[in-house]
Structure formats: structure tokens, C-alpha cells
């Protein structure tokens, strides 16, 4: 193989040196072809590179498609080197030219087509030619890389440009925001030197942007110490994040204001802190509004706390969520004990069943509910509350119940007391009516009894003793007397008479009280009595004693109302010495009447025994008792000098023992038992009674007694007769209740005519007259019908005796 010519090699080297200037493939292709042209033994026909075919000669050696096909085959790859060489040999044979590849380690870029005129010479230059072609491949690759880089660079530049535009727009937006924000914004560097501010800052502080730039932040603080303290904290706090702080600022004018500031640090792209931004808001107005609101809230809170009525809120389950002090005070619980609890925890059990169905349902469905319910305080006492509740549905919160309430316990008790008093009044009115009725009946009844008794007595005189008829008449007399006593009892019980203590026998009073009680207590309660028949006399007002018995027996009956039982009343007289009277320090030794009232009821709890006589103390429901019955009974007993004791055990009933001091004097009605002949005397009697039977009867009886009697049924006529001859009579006996002129009026007229006239006034029942008022009238005697023969005889006899002492002519 011949040595290559240095000049040719030099040309090849120069070609290689300048190849890098040929950046476009066609130019490079031509440059290579021209550059390799002087290589001996080599006739370059063309070059295919970058998809372009350049053929040196005018002659058409190759088709472009041939080149592309060749390129495709090489791109697909060969199994091995032999296959590749075989293919090239085939190509050469076909196209009568050789080719060398233009390829690098990365890719194949083209082919150099040539004819070898002298293979030996060609082969000496072949390495240099191949090297040149490799260089072409490198340059092409480099160009591709550059193009890609350029493309990427173009893309990158476009992206950067776009991003820069975005950044600029963003910056403009933020700048616009910065400039337009109403809050003052300040930017300071880490040394607390002010870098910039927005127009709002200038407006607020009065510094222009140029003035403030470069100043230290301390010029803005009203209090230097406060500012210094802030400065120390800012670094640490802004490292954590946003830091809010309120402090006093100073404007350029010197005016100060409170500023709420949001501090935060800003950093560069490397994350290094480059400064702090402060957004300052003048909160002077807000402070003023807050103060005003606070004062307003305080006023409302004071009002809320001072209101004596109850104010509360509940959730929809009825749990208390807020209360005012009045609630705590009334219930006696602390706030912690009340809040969160359902109202039913304090509610009277009788209302609990309706709480959900009526109260809560009512509030929810109707929007409100009101009423009165009873509750229990912490100390167990009952209270009544009148409430009004309303459903509140705030816009942005859960609905709740709001309510107000008022303690109406006193009013409730007063209402019940009123009811009770009204019932008592009605009862009293009823009794008064009964009294009136009784009074009306008694008058007629007494008159009739007088007739019966009077005629029976007259008949007894006619019929000897031992006669059967006499026996019958005796029975009639006894019955009449009993009937008379019954009427008197009825009048006594129904009469509204002031307290008048007189000796009374408790035996009949107790019996009669029990008779009256029987009709007022439950049938399942048995009444038994153990009454000593010996007179049990005491100085007392029978009405009050009756009250005591009724109260104690009613109380005993109430204790047995559920299950029934036995009420036993006993009466006895006994002596108490100093020792045995010691159970009551107010008692002295002496003779006492003891009334025992025993029941088989539920008994009294030990802790209540000491309180049962206290006024208003009761264990009964409000509408069942006022707690006054035992207190009144106790008071009456004490006022009579007695003692009221109680023994009781729960489940074993109770025993009440009344001790009354016994009276010495016997009751007037039983002072002297009747005996002996009837007293008789002479005298002239004028008898007036509108009842003809009574007038006739008494005339007969008086005449039987020896008196000269003139009886009249017309009081006016009788008065005329008297007026005509007033000294003709020694005694006038008149009835009270008469038509045209009543007995008392007749008496006045008679006494006007003759002042010393002895008059006896008789009455069946008349509330206008009494023993006292009759005496005041000047009447000698007052007698209640029916009057027995003996009573009539003795009374007439006494009156005439007294009258004759004043006027000796009487009876002559």
C-alpha cells in the first residue's frame, strides 16, 4: 500500500478542520465532496447525509429512494458484521459504486458514495477518509445536539419568558394589592430598618414612602419600652409563623392609636429570612365599639342578675343551659348543680309525666308554652313556679328554649288558703243557715212542745199516779223534755254567740259532737265511745270545746282515710297531783276532765311530733289541710287552762289527751233538782201569747196555781187593756214573737205606762232577745219555752215576791 501524499493529507486535515464551520448538512455534504475530490484513487460520486443526496457529477448515479432504502436497512440493523458487509457488497454490485458510512457511536447519518479507481491508493487514504466521515457524523450529531439544545433552549426561553410574564403579572397584582390594601403595610429588614410601605401606611402614619424609608421602626412606637420588648420577640415569633400583637403606635403628628399588627417574615428563594412584614390596622374605633359593647353587656348582665324573676335557657331535651342568680337563690342549688340537668329532676312527680308530652312538645310545635308547676327546692320544700317558655331559633345556631318564671308559691298557698277559708265560710254560712233554719223551727217547735208539755202536766194532775194513763203521760213528758233539750242543743251549736264561758257539762257535748261527726267521716271508720256519765263540768265556751273535739276527731279520721280504722273517744274525770301533772309545766294539781281521742291510723313520725301543734305545719297535701286544726285546738285548750298531749308511733296510730280543769259550779240547768209542792200565790196576771193553745194552756196553769189570769192572743189589744187599767195587774207574762207588736216592744210600752211593772218574757226562739238584753229592757225574767209547770210556778212566785217587796200592794 502506497504512502499517502502529505499534501493530500494536509488537504484532508484542512477539510476536517473546517468541517465544524459547516453547520447545515447540504453545505457540509458539498464541502466534503469537494474536499475529498483530490484524493487519488477516489472518485466521489455523491454523499447522502441528513436525508439529502448531493451528487458531485452531473450524472445521475443514485436515486434518493435508493439512499433512503439503504439507510432504512442499516437502521433496522444486521445480525452480524458479515451480514452488513454482504449487504454493502450487494449494494455496490447493484449500483456499481462503493459506499462508506457516515456514522458515530450513536447513530448512522449517511453514506459517502464513490468509485475506487485504484483500490491500493484508496486504501492508503481510507482511514483518513473514514476519519473525515466520522468527523462529519460528529459534527452532525453535535449540530443535532445543538439544535436540540437550541430547541430546548428556545423552549426553555419561551417557558422562562412565559414564567417571567406570569411573575411580572403576579408581581403587578401583588404590587397592586400592596398599594391598594386599606391596611397599612410595612416592610422592614432584619435590622428593623424600614424598607418600604404602602400608601395606606402613609395615610395612617403621615409619613411618605420616602420619609419613612431608612428609618428605624422605633419611630413608630408610642412607648419605646413596649417597642423594644416587641423587637426582641419578633425574631422568635416570626420564625414560628404569623405573630399577632397589639400595641400603641405614634403617627408623625404625634397622635397615638392602638394598632393590631400581623407580623410575618419573608424569605428569599433559598429560604433565608430577609425581613419582616407588618400589616397594621388602626383599631381605635373597634376598641371604642368593644368598650361600648362591653358596657352594654355589663348593663344587661347586671340587669339579668338583678332581676328577681327567673330567667333560664334550656336545650330541646329540657336541660338547663343557663340561669340567672334568681334561679339559684330560689332553688338553693349552685350553678354547677343546676346546669346540664333536666328540669324534671326538680319537678313535682305529678307533673313529670306531662313534661315531654305537654311542655317540650308544646314549645316545639307551638313555639311557646306556659303554665304553673310545682318543684322541689334543695331543702325539700315545695315551690310553685309560673313560667313562660319560648322556642328560639337563631340563624346560625341550634334552636333552644328561653323562659322566664316567677315564684307563685305564696299566691298558690294563699289561693288554697282562700279556697279553704271560702269552704270554711261556706260551711259557716251553711251553719248560719242551719242556725237560721233551726231558729225558725225552734220557735214553732218550742211552742208546740210547750203545748204538749203543758197539757201533759195538766193531765198528770188529773190522773192519779199508778194509773196506766199517768205512765203514758209521764213518757210523753220525758220525751217532750228531751225534745226541748235537743232543740236547745241545736240552737246552741248554730248560734253565733261571743265567747261566753259558762259551766258546761262535757258529757252531752261530747256525745252530741260525735253524733255530728259521724255524718262527716268515712264509713270505714268505726266510732266508739267510753264516756263516764257523771257530769264533767268545766267553765268553757261550748262552741270552742266543740271546735276542739271536731278538729282532733277530723284529724284522727284523716289518718285512717285510706284503710279505715277505729276512732275511740273516752271521757273521764280524774285528779292530778303535782307529780302527775308534771307532764305539762303549765298545769297545777287539781281536778281535771280528761278527753282521750285514739285512732288506728298511720301514726306520726317522731321528727314531726314536736311540730304538729305549730301553725301551718302539715304533712298533708296543700289542698287537704292548712296545718291550723291542731294548732287551734291546742290554743283553745291552753286558753281554758288545759293541756293537749299526743302520743304516736308510725304504723300504730295516735292518742290525743285533753286535760281541762274541772269547774266547781254545776251547770245552771242542773243546779237544784225539782222537788216538793209547786209554789202558789195570789196575784193578777196578764198573759199574752199569739198562740191560742198556749194562751189557753197557760191561763189554766196559772189559775191552777191560784193566780187570777187574763190571757190574750192579741198583743195590741192586751196593751190597750193594760193601758186602761195598768194597776190592775201584778204581773205580765208575754211571748216574744208575736204579730203586729213583738214581746220586747210590748214590754217597753207597758213599762212606759207603769215603770215598776213586773214582766216575764217567754220565747220559743228569737235571736233578737236574750237573757241579757231582756234584763237590760227591765224585764224581770226571761224564760225559754217550753216551760214546765214547775218552772212556771217557781218563776212566777219569785217574780211576784220580788215585786211585792218593791210594791207592797202587789198580790193584794
Amino acid at each position: 500500500m502506497s504512502d499517502p501524499d502529505a499534501r493530500i493529507l494536509g488537504k484532508i486535515l484542512l477539510l476536517q478542520s473546517t468541517l465544524h464551520l459547516m453547520q447545515d448538512n447540504p453545505g457540509m455534504a458539498r464541502f466534503v465532496c469537494r474536499g475529498l475530490a483530490p484524493v487519488p484513487g477516489l472518485k466521489v460520486t455523491g454523499i447522502f447525509v441528513g436525508g439529502h443526496l448531493y451528487q458531485e457529477d452531473e450524472g445521475k448515479w443514485l436515486e434518493l429512494k435508493d439512499c433512503r432504502r439503504l439507510m432504512d436497512c442499516f437502521k433496522e440493523g444486521f445480525i452480524n458484521k458479515n451480514q452488513r458487509e454482504n449487504y454493502l457488497a450487494e449494494f455496490s454490485k447493484c449500483h456499481q459504486m462503493d459506499c462508506l458510512t457516515i456514522e458515530s457511536a450513536l447513530d448512522l447519518y449517511g453514506f459517502l458514495f464513490f468509485q475506487t479507481t485504484c483500490s491500493e491508493t484508496f486504501n492508503s487514504y481510507r482511514p483518513y477518509i473514514e476519519n473525515t466521515l466520522n468527523l462529519v457524523a460528529l459534527i452532525i450529531e453535535n449540530n443535532i445536539q445543538k439544535a436540540l439544545l437550541h430547541q430546548n433552549q428556545e423552549n426553555l426561553e419561551q417557558a422562562i419568558e412565559a414564567r417571567s410574564r406570569e411573575l411580572k403579572q403576579s408581581e403587578e397584582r401583588y404590587r397592586s394589592l400592596f398599594e391598594s390594601l386599606r391596611d397599612a403595610i410595612l416592610v422592614v429588614d432584619p435590622d428593623k430598618t424600614i424598607i418600604s410601605c404602602n400608601p395606606a401606611f402613609s395615610d395612617l402614619f403621615g409619613y411618605s414612602a420616602d420619609e419613612i424609608q431608612g428609618l428605624k421602626t422605633k419611630v413608630l412606637y408610642a412607648d419605646e419600652r413596649q417597642g423594644a420588648a416587641l423587637g426582641e420577640r419578633l425574631e422568635k415569633e416570626t420564625d414560628k409563623g404569623n405573630f399577632f400583637h397589639t400595641l400603641q403606635y405614634r403617627k408623625k403628628s404625634g397622635a397615638c392609636f392602638p394598632g393590631e399588627t400581623n407580623f410575618f417574615s419573608f424569605r428569599d428563594t433559598k429560604g433565608e429570612k430577609v425581613g419582616i412584614i407588618g400589616i397594621i390596622r388602626d383599631i381605635t374605633q373597634r376598641r371604642q365599639s368593644e368598650d361600648a359593647l362591653r358596657r352594654s353587656e355589663q348593663r344587661f348582665r347586671d340587669l339579668f342578675n338583678s332581676i328577681s324573676d327567673l330567667i333560664f335557657t334550656q336545650d330541646l331535651e329540657g336541660r338547663l343551659t343557663s340561669i340567672n342568680p334568681a334561679v339559684k337563690k330560689l332553688f338553693g342549688y349552685t350553678e354547677e348543680e343546676l346546669l346540664g340537668r333536666r328540669v324534671t329532676d326538680f319537678l313535682d312527680p305529678q307533673y313529670q309525666a306531662d313534661f315531654d308530652s305537654e311542655y317540650l312538645a308544646g314549645v316545639w310545635q307551638n313555639g311557646h308554652c306556659k303554665g304553673v308547676s310545682s318543684f322541689f327546692r334543695k331543702d325539700g320544700s315545695r315551690i310553685f313556679i309560673e313560667y313562660q317558655s319560648k322556642l328560639v331559633t337563631p340563624e346560625n345556631d341550634a334552636p333552644f328554649i328561653s323562659g322566664i318564671g316567677r315564684d307563685v308559691t305564696e299566691q298558690n298557698l294563699a289561693a288554697k288558703e282562700k279556697k279553704r277559708l271560702e269552704a270554711q265560710l261556706r260551711q259557716a254560712q251553711k251553719m248560719e243557715s242551719i242556725g237560721t233554719l233551726t231558729g225558725g223551727i225552734a220557735h214553732d217547735f218550742n211552742n208546740m212542745l210547750s203545748i204538749i208539755l203543758g197539757n201533759t202536766e195538766l193531765a198528770q194532775e188529773k190522773i192519779p199516779e199508778g194509773s196506766p194513763a199517768r205512765e203514758y203521760l209521764d213518757e210523753v213528758q220525758t220525751a217532750s223534755i228531751r225534745a226541748r233539750d235537743v232543740v236547745r242543743q241545736l240552737l246552741a251549736f248554730s248560734r253565733k254567740t261571743p265567747e261566753v264561758r259558762t259551766p258546761i257539762n262535757l258529757v252531752p257535748l261530747v256525745k252530741e259532737s260525735l253524733k255530728l261527726l259521724r255524718s262527716t267521716i268515712a264509713a270505714n271508720i268505726t266510732i266508739s265511745q267510753a264516756i263516764d256519765e257523771k257530769p264533767a263540768v268545766l267553765e268553757a265556751d261550748p262552741t270552742q270545746i266543740h271546735q276542739v273535739l271536731i278538729n282532733l276527731c277530723s284529724n284522727a279520721a284523716d289518718a285512717m282515710s285510706d284503710n279505715g280504722g277505729t276512732l275511740k273517744v273516752s271521757l273521764e274525770s280524774l285528779d292530778l297531783n303535782k307529780e302527775t301533772a308534771g307532764f305539762d309545766p303549765d298545769l297545777s294539781a287539781g281536778r281535771f276532765i280528761k278527753i282521750t281521742i285514739r285512732d288506728t291510723g298511720e301514726g306520726i313520725a317522731p321528727e314531726n311530733l314536736n311540730r304538729i301543734f305549730d301553725p301551718y305545719f302539715t304533712t298533708k297535701p296543700v289542698d287537704k289541710g292548712t296545718g291550723l286544726g291542731l294548732s287551734v285546738a291546742h290554743g283553745i285548750v291552753k286558753s281554758h287552762g288545759g293541756s293537749l298531749q299526743v302520743r304516736s308511733q308510725p304504723g300504730h296510730g295516735s292518742v290525743f289527751e285533753i286535760y281541762f280543769p274541772a269547774a266547781v259550779q254545776l251547770p245552771e240547768a242542773e243546779q237544784s233538782p225539782p222537788s216538793g209542792e209547786l209554789p202558789r200565790a195570789a196575784g193578777r196576771i196578764l198573759f199574752i201569747d199569739d198562740d191560742p193553745s198556749l194562751a189557753k194552756l197557760n191561763q189554766q196553769r196559772l189559775e191552777r196555781l191560784g193566780y187570777t189570769t187574763s190571757s190574750h192572743t192579741d198583743p195590741e189589744k192586751a196593751l190597750e187593756i193594760f193601758r186602761a187599767a195598768p194597776h190592775q195587774y201584778d204581773l205580765v207574762i208575754t211571748d216574744m214573737t208575736m204579730p203586729h207588736i213583738t214581746g220586747d216592744q210590748l214590754c217597753r210600752e207597758i213599762l212606759k205606762i207603769r215603770a215598776d211593772m213586773a214582766i216575764i218574757l217567754c220565747t220559743g226562739y228569737n235571736e233578737k232577745i236574750s237573757r241579757t238584753s231582756a234584763s237590760d229592757l227591765g224585764i224581770a225574767r226571761y224564760m225559754e219555752k217550753p216551760i214546765s209547770m214547775r218552772e212556771l210556778a217557781e218563776t212566777v212566785h219569785k217574780v211576784l215576791i220580788n215585786a211585792s217587796k218593791k210594791n207592797p200592794l202587789i198580790g193584794t
Partner: protein, 213 residues
């Protein structure tokens, strides 16, 4: 006509060369080209040479700015250099004349010597010659080849600048063959493809007689 050639520096390379070389500078990077030419011309100031720059791609003002960047007091040295558009200098009656151009080169050198300069150097941007239709390839090739002869007696060191982006690569190869020296990657190298003017002119004559490429 000088008999002994001075050894000069070209500015962009540290080596010393005889004056009067005909150098082709093929470039595709304007910045590099400007730097290289600025150093070439600055060295001329230092060598006490008068400078001729025929521009086509770079405005004259830019050449002056380049001088300033290099620390040349353009105002003071204004008489030491001439900058003109190439087509003005080389195209009488608006068309390139090889004879005119060659006379210009010879006269410029002679005048420089008379003016007291040690020598002269020149640079030309040649893109105007073909791109504006002022010349043909053969005519240009004729000039380049004959310049070699002129420069033997009038050693004005000349750099012909050709933008490879604007000239056909095949033409570049032909241009290479008529320039004895070449700037390659900032170095001056002998052009191995150089063809002696007499031989090249013969070959070129045929082309000049043929149709324009």
C-alpha cells in the same frame, strides 16, 4: 516594493509571521469574528501600521466601538485607520472590479509607507461581493488568486472574511484553494489546498468563460 519582510504579530495569535500574508477567515460566529478582527487591527496600531477595513456585515461604528473596548483612542488615531463599506471601496460603478480592487490594495500600502507607517494591514468582509450580485464566483476567485501576486510586492497583510452561513460550501472549498493561509480555531495555519495563482487562474479562466454558477 519591499525586499525584506517584517515579522509581525497578527494579534489573535502569539506567533510571529512575515507581513503580507493573504489569509482567509471562514467563520460562523460573529462575536468570535469581531474579537479576532479587533485583535488583528489593534495589533496593527501597535505595529505602527495603517489599517484598512472594508465592512459589509458590521457597521463602521461597531468597529470603532470594538477599538474603544480594546483601549484604542479612536479620536486620536483616526488618521491611522480607514473604515469603509466594501462595495464602496471595491465596486466602481457599483460593480466589483478585480483590477480596481488590486490597485487599491497596492496603492494603500505604498501610501502608508510614504506616510511613515511601518506597513499596512487590511481586512475585508466579502459577503457583499456575491450576495448583492456585484460579482461572480470566477471574478471573485480571480481577484483572490491575483491578490497573492500583488501581496508579494506590496505586503499588506490581508484577512478575507467569509461567512460560511452565507456562502456555498463548495465555494468555500474553492476559496480555500486561493488563500495560502487560513485562520482555523483562532490559529493561523497553512492551507494545504492552496493552489498557486498561475495554476488556479488557468482553471478559473475556464469557469469565467462558462455560465455563472
Amino acid at each position: 516594493m519591499t525586499e525584506k519582510k517584517r515579522r509581525i504579530s497578527l494579534g489573535f495569535t502569539g506567533a510571529m509571521f512575515d507581513e503580507g500574508h493573504h489569509i482567509i477567515y471562514i467563520y460562523n460566529n460573529d462575536a468570535e469574528r469581531k474579537r479576532t478582527m479587533a485583535k488583528f487591527l489593534q495589533q496593527g496600531f501597535l505595529e505602527n501600521e495603517k489599517l484598512l477595513y472594508l465592512v459589509a456585515d458590521i457597521p463602521p461604528a461597531e468597529i470603532r466601538r470594538e477599538f474603544l473596548k480594546l483601549g484604542v483612542n479612536v479620536e486620536e488615531r483616526q488618521k491611522d485607520f480607514d473604515i469603509a463599506p466594501g462595495h464602496h471601496a471595491c465596486c466602481p460603478e457599483a460593480y466589483f472590479s478585480s483590477d480596481f480592487m488590486l490597485d487599491l490594495v497596492g496603492d494603500y500600502y505604498e501610501n502608508a509607507i510614504k506616510e511613515g507607517y511601518a506597513g499596512a494591514r487590511g481586512a475585508g468582509e466579502m459577503s457583499w461581493a456575491l450576495l448583492e450580485g456585484r460579482s461572480t464566483v470566477p471574478e471573485l476567485m480571480d481577484y483572490e488568486a491575483r491578490l497573492n501576486t500583488i501581496l508579494k510586492d506590496h505586503p499588506l497583510t490581508t484577512v478575507c472574511q467569509y461567512d460560511v452561513r452565507k456562502f456555498d460550501s463548495a465555494l468555500i472549498m474553492d476559496l480555500l484553494s486561493v488563500h495560502p493561509m487560513m485562520i482555523v480555531r483562532g490559529q493561523l495555519v497553512r492551507n494545504p489546498v492552496y493552489v498557486e495563482p498561475e495554476i488556479f487562474l488557468q482553471q478559473n479562466q475556464k469557469r469565467m468563460n462558462g455560465p455563472h454558477e
